[in-house]
Amino acid sequence: MTPKLSAVESPPELHTNRIEAIISVRDLIHRYQDRTALNGVSFEVRPAELFGLLGPNGSGKTTLFRILSTLMVPSAGTAQIAGLDVVREPAALRRHIGVVFQAQSVDQKLTTYENLWHQGHLYGLRGAALKQRIKEILTRVGLQDRARDRVETFSGGMQRRIELAKGLLHHPEVLLLDEPTTGLDPGARRDLWQYLQILRDQERVSVIVTTHLMEEAERCDRLAILNEGKLVALGTPAELTREIGGDVVLLEAHEPEELAGRIRNMFHIDAIAMGTHVRLEIENGHRFVPDVVEAFPGEIQALSVSKPTLEDVFIHRTGHKFWNEEPMPQKGKRKY
């Protein structure tokens, strides 16, 4: 990749090493009329990082995404991308970010080329330069043969690639993606993630992805885990799982509450009941298992010992499961 030649005209603080973080979010708070969606969230994203925002539905990640993409103004706190404030300098900031929404933004009635031509105009690209750039980006996402076809004839995976092409057309330094793999089959999912990694490595684009899927979160360089509007964990997937220390043991029991209490008393381990299971974290889980089975004969129906996952990190930090059975908060209509 040849370096971008836009540096001459760019604001001086860009493309220099002065900015450690490409995105910096500080004490961000957002309240809707009836609930607080974000409650004091702070983190930073480094340049050329694949950064994940992991959280269950209603955790505030979509609100955060909308604030970062300049669609919503936060109630309090600040967020900056490429040194520009999302509230005070949205117009300038918009040139630096590419946004891929969960909802489809390509126009079905237009061809691939026309969609990108239209998109380019929105960013002030035109003429031969735009034509050249469209050709380039379509080759990038492997759709160069379908430029003249209408989008409505395409598969979900192909449409998603056009979304990606739209987001990247104007050479953004930051790409924001909201649940980008929703509705994609496993093959298309894998392709998309591979492409995001290529983007990070070859074009040095900082990629921010929201997801509620653990296996996707594992692929990120660093993660912010959100729960009920708060940041509950921040770090690389390996760091986060390491902090649990040891193994996660799950015991299936008829009376999980009672069993958990007795395990706490007998072994002085923080065992908690979760649904039909008792869950506990312990080093060398395989040594603990014979002891606990012997201590409570007949009470344990099944058990498993596993290395901690990101879901365990979430449980460890919040004390409850990632997937709550509570009804989702009603989402009101949004205006921009």
């Binding site: 836009s6 993409s69 929404f101 390509v106 126009d107 239209h118 960013y123 750039r133």
Partner: protein, 271 residues
């Protein structure tokens, strides 16, 4: 992979015209790629004109209307305004669809001034409505309307103003909405009556006093009257041509200002 240098997007301002142009272009292309929509907006008013016009014409022939006009003739400008109303309003339904899909979002996160969004969308709808309205003019010789070049120019101007005002109105209605169903409700409750009471169906000076009062404040009345004055200069008319066109112009400016103000509101609460 090599990426060719592109003109730095940071250097120049995107401005209003390029985004407005591209949004206008999309609106027009989309419309003509949906055959059913094109057929719908041309055929339904044509059907209305013939069915209502012929039906009313024979049922209520009073014989004393000005110039002994046949009802089909009288109804012609009203039918034209109806085509414009249908096209512009239904075209602006796309604002709601764009919002419910992600299309509008992708425009809102682009470095595009809101005025460009309003201008592009509204001019797109205006173009379509005006073209559909003017196509209807090919039937004009059938009702004995023969326009001079000058009056043709004024008809085009009037059609443009009516189209622009109604499209801007459609935009202003659609912008805060999140479902096309509620948009349909507004069409039935507000826009169709607006057309019914515009002098499209019955003349101003034959209406009762309170209906006249409603017609006077209905901006569409002046569009219908301007067209009728241009098409039938010999008949009697309640307003002068310049008064009608000036009122129309004011209405147009007001509607655009309203659409612009609505689109420019900043989202603080996100809902």
């Amino acid at each position: 992979m090599a990426s060719a240098p592109i003109p730095s997007p940071y250097a120049q301002s995107v401005g209003v015209m390029l985004p407005a142009f591209t949004l206008w272009w999309r609106e027009v292309v989309r419309f003509y790629r949906q055959r059913a929509r094109v057929a719908g907006v041309i055929l339904s008013p044509l059907l209305f004109w013939i069915v209502i016009g012929s039906g009313f014409g024979t049922s209520f022939r009073s014989g004393e209307s000005a110039g002994q006009q046949h009802y089909l003739d009288y109804f012609f400008p009203g039918a034209m305004v109806m085509i414009i109303l249908f096209t512009s309003i239904f075209t602006m339904m796309s604002v709601i669809e764009d919002r419910n899909e992600g299309f509008l979002l992708s425009v809102l996160v682009a470095p595009v001034p809101r005025s460009a969004i309003v201008l592009g969308k509204v001019l797109g709808g205006t173009t379509l409505a005006a073209i559909q309205g003017l196509i209807f003019l090919v039937f004009a010789p059938l009702v004995g309307v023969h326009l001079t070049l000058g009056s043709f120019g004024l008809v085009v101007l009037t059609v443009f103003l009516v189209s622009f005002a109604l499209t801007a109105l459609g935009f202003a209605i659609a912008w805060p909405m999140d479902s096309t169903q509620s948009f349909h409700a507004i069409i039935n409750l507000f826009l169709i009556p607006m057309w019914l009471l515009s002098g499209a169906l019955f003349p101003f000076n034959k209406a009762s006093k309170w209906i006249q009062a409603v017609m006077l404040v209905n901006p569409l009345t002046y569009g219908v009257e301007a067209l009728r004055t241009l098409m039938y200069p010999d008949a009697t008319h309640p307003f002068t041509l310049s008064a009608s066109i000036m009122t129309l112009l004011l209405f147009t400016l007001f509607m655009f200002g309203l659409a612009f103000a609505l689109a420019n509101r900043k989202s603080k609460s996100g809902r």
